[in-house]
């Protein structure tokens, strides 16, 4: 087995539902302290090891905790319990165009997005031409990003995200970037990453994509891993249950 890339032990994340925390003056002054709020457990002691060179998929219903798990891995959310260790340089593409400012030029946003992702300015300057070339933006790079088509925007954002040259990529349904040819190109880039013993964690509802692209898949249900294993088997089990439940509801 390869070396681990991400090791999660007993990750638990609880949210208190919005309604109870709605921060109004009266409640803040009043009895907010000793009020029992109903807790929502987004992740319930999840143990997970993801290895280098692996494409790992996470599937499950809405609200099963998929995005929460990615955010814990991206270290934007500190778990209530448990530890998470990430070995390597992780790049997160949970959303595209993070750190971008729509008013500014593409050139400026390459800098902003790159700095936000953790690159230094000298590194961005060095990679600038290849970023623009990869994104197939051309001279539009000096136009404000708000004038870009959504395809151009996603291509530039994806290209900046890859400029970090991550060995761990956390993806949240952004595989469907740009047109058919760019999608093939981004797919090739990710395969390359895997070949370099990189790791991809991929959250998606597009089950055929998951089954095709991932090596192993975890099926999350109400914050608990219901099944972890070989991609196609897990996806199939998940699909079977969804189908059965739908049939049961109808019948």
């Amino acid at each position: 087995m390869n070396a681990p890339a991400i090791v999660a032990e007993g990750i638990t994340v609880r949210f208190r539902p919005m309604v109870d925390r709605k921060p109004t003056l009266r409640r803040s002054i009043g009895r907010m302290r000793h009020r029992e709020t109903q807790e929502l457990v987004a992740l319930d002691s999840v143990d997970l090891t993801i290895y280098k060179g692996e494409a790992f998929g996470v599937i499950g219903r809405n609200g099963a905790g998929k995005s929460t798990l990615l955010r814990v891995m991206a270290k934007t959310l500190r778990p209530d319990e448990g530890t998470i260790n990430v070995y390597g340089k992780a790049s997160t593409l949970l959303q595209l165009g993070v750190g971008f400012n729509m008013e500014l030029s593409g050139r400026r946003n390459v800098l902003l997005g790159g700095l936000a992702a953790g690159l230094r300015k000298s590194e961005i300057d060095e990679k600038f031409d290849s970023i623009v070339e990869y994104a197939e933006i051309g001279t539009a790079i000096d136009r404000p990003v708000r004038t870009y088509s959504s395809g151009m925007f996603s291509r530039l954002a994806f290209s900046v995200g890859m400029a970090l040259e991550p060995n761990i990529l956390l993806l949240d349904e952004v595989l469907a970037v740009g047109d058919e040819s760019f999608r093939a190109k981004s797919m090739a880039t990710m395969k390359e990453l895997l070949a370099r013993a990189g790791t991809i964690v991929f959250v998606s509802h597009a089950l055929p994509n998951v089954a095709e692209f991932c090596d192993r898949v975890m099926w999350l249900e109400s914050g608990r891993p219901r099944m972890i294993g070989e991609a196609e088997a897990v996806v199939e089990a998940y699909q079977t249950e969804v189908r059965q439940q739908r049939a049961a509801r109808k019948g």
Partner: protein, 301 residues
Amino acid sequence: MSNPLGTLRSYTPAAMTAVKTPPRRIFSAARTYISELWNRREFAWYLALGNLKARNASTTLGLLWWVINPLLLAGVYWLVFGLLFDRGTLDLSRGTETGLPFLAFLLSGMFPFFFTQSAMTGGVNSIVSNTKLLANLHFPRLILPIAALLESTVGFVASLGVFFMIVGPINGIWPGPWTLWLPVAMVIQLVFNFGLSTIVARVAVPFRDLNNLVPYFTRLWLYLSPVIYEAAFVEGKGETIEFLFRLNPLFSILELYRHALTGVDINLAGSLTISTLWAVGFAVAGVTLFVKYEGKMARYL
């Protein structure tokens, strides 16, 4: 890879584990945090620069607005207080032989006050308006209020340029030896503003209402600070009132600016001591409150 575990390097900061940090480690955690912050200094700077650029990106005059805004503001107050209320010269013979022209007096308090006001407004929004960054990327969150502070600092420096452009030709007040105190006053105010903006940034995350309250608070603060009146105004109001007024951190900071910008006499040692104490106090309190809360921020957004 013969021994893969030997080459592993954890990028996990100590704070990521839910386990409480023992006191001995707090010092090293602080060092890690500061070095992380320092590594990301370019991010803070270009974030501020980007926002500065974007704010007037679609206006015709563009960056000129950073100078025009304070100019117009000065014009409005000159019109209202200088002409309508006819307060041409204030009888402030302290230090200046002819008395201090009201416009110079007013602007020397107004522009520094607006620096703190814009730092506060920027601080309140620095976290809650950057939810996308917070949800997606891991970086020391202190970057965001710092970038907002850099933004308002640029605005303040531009307004200081306007100040000298106005009071020189119009009021005949040119920089003198007292101007050397200007950098000192600016550093003290910067530290104070930093503390203030981190506090409001942190509080605004669970308590969004703060955003709505800040305009009223700063309005009140303006009138409670010696901006449109001089410090001596409160001195005749009895000891208790004077004491309460002097509790205002901006009181001594604005006194420093009055001296540094116009040369009027003040109790320099007193103002320096009090304003420094406030500034350091706010900065320490702000950073402590903010950093302790960092890990929880994402779940409120």
